[in-house]
Symmetry: C2
Subunit: 246 residues, 2 copies
DNA sequence: AAGTGGTCTAGACCACTCA
DNA sequence: GAGTGGTCTAGACCACTTA
């Protein structure tokens, strides 16, 4: 009996998923520890671990080494790239996912500004090797959710507020506009992938959890790429949105 | 000696990653089998498996049960949502990733058309419970890379070519236009996440490999949502792109 | 100090592919 | 049938958190 085509670790993952999906499940209390689950389901510890690894990849639990496995409570952040364009008119109040609409406290975790050589791909896009690099991390509720690195040709940035940590009201784009190089068109290129070891450390996620990588090119009126930004977002933390006309 | 903060399975993954990254590595020949690697590195089979699981999540290898582990050779497909708008002018020839520009053979793997009840979220968006569902799978090189499910209010689709498997020249949108319901504005909402068991089976990927879920709402001139499509893309197979103005 | 998750071993047996 | 990956066991020891 027990048809059991499904591996044990998947069956256990299914049960745990169901258990924590209840709204009554207290997110401040850990799940039963691995050893207890191992006894309850009468399987080896390794099998329980595989089940938990699955839930972890799905973003349903946070694992704290030495402490326990906790239900993850997280409302994703809505990143609306084209908000200024049309979101209020077309998309408002019609969200598919239960996401916060940008009003959540997104804070700057760290910021480093330096002159450097651009990575070859970025250099190709910008048509410049020497660049100003603005490298930063964003936090929500003290949790890192996004890495962003911007590249601007050094000749453009030199002597402007762009090279200061605080680039002033309106930020980098406002300064570019003042220099007659206002970005008017943007292209965002996106991949869903697994994080590099470096990104895992900075975002404090495991190798199994997906991230979205967004590379944004900002074009001036003369179709010159004036700024390139590479962003890496914790996949579970964000919902991204774009609007466009046919 | 042997500082070795790095777990063995990561070190082995690093070595294998390096080995297959060589352009000379023959993608038609499998890597050395697990048992051989286990001997070579003097570790248990489980440790080798963990290393290979990592490469698999990164999309670097394809594992064929009973056959072996193969280097994955795959150029991602460029999905340019706003191509008609501006890609030729602004983005052309300036790609960050080495992607095929849509000319690759993307074929229909399966297509099912039926009338049904809409999932509650879709019903909310459409303002209709009874819908025509167009459910399809797309292949590239005989490999499933995308699942797409479209929902159109039943009252709109009934009696038009939309309810036929072949919806005619220009497809569904052309038929909607003929009915005076041309989609003119689109909102695409995107998440990077892990696939559900069903999606894993259909896309033939494992739970660790990320997918991108895109929900597209098509608006008519009167700001009515006339069509909702949910797409699930193999994250490693696609590069997505959007363009917009400030 | 006690309890948690993280890594690892040395096996066993099953499911699948391929010549 | 020989060889491959997939699941699983019953341990051991280490790293980290909490009190």
């Amino acid at each position: 009996m027990g048809e059991s085509r499904e591996p044990k670790y998947r069956a256990i993952a299914d049960e745990l998923r169901l258990a924590i999906s209840s709204p009554e499940f207290d997110p401040d209390k850990p799940l039963d520890p691995e050893r207890a689950l191992s006894k309850r389901y009468d399987v080896s510890a390794a099998t329980v671990r595989k089940a938990i690894a699955l839930l972890r990849a799905e973003g349903l639990v946070d694992v704290r080494h030495g402490s326990g496995v906790y239900k993850r409570t997280w409302k994703p952040i809505l990143r609306d790239a084209t908000k200024r364009l049309s979101a209020e008119q077309w998309g408002a109040g019609r969200a598919i996912w239960d996401a916060d609409v940008g009003d959540r406290l997104v804070t700057l975790g760290s910021l480093e500004v330096r002159y450097d050589r651009a990575p070859s791909r970025v250099a190709d896009l910008l048509g410049a090797e020497d660049v100003l690099v603005r490298d930063r991390t964003y936090l929500v509720d003290y949790r890192p959710v996004q890495l962003a690195v911007s590249y601007i040709p050094a000749e453009v940035a030199r002597g402007t507020a762009i090279e200061r940590r605080d680039s002033g009201p309106g930020g980098t784009f406002a300064r570019l506009a003042e220099a007659g190089l206002a970005p008017v068109e943007f292209t965002e290129t996106v991949r869903a992938r697994t994080p590099s070891p470096d990104e895992q450390a900075k975002l404090r996620i495991t190798a199994e959890r997906p991230v979205a990588e967004i590379v944004r090119c900002a074009f001036t009126q003369t179709k010159r790429i004036i700024e390139v930004t590479s962003m890496v977002l914790d996949g579970e933390a964000y919902v991204m949105q774009w609007s466009f006309t046919s």
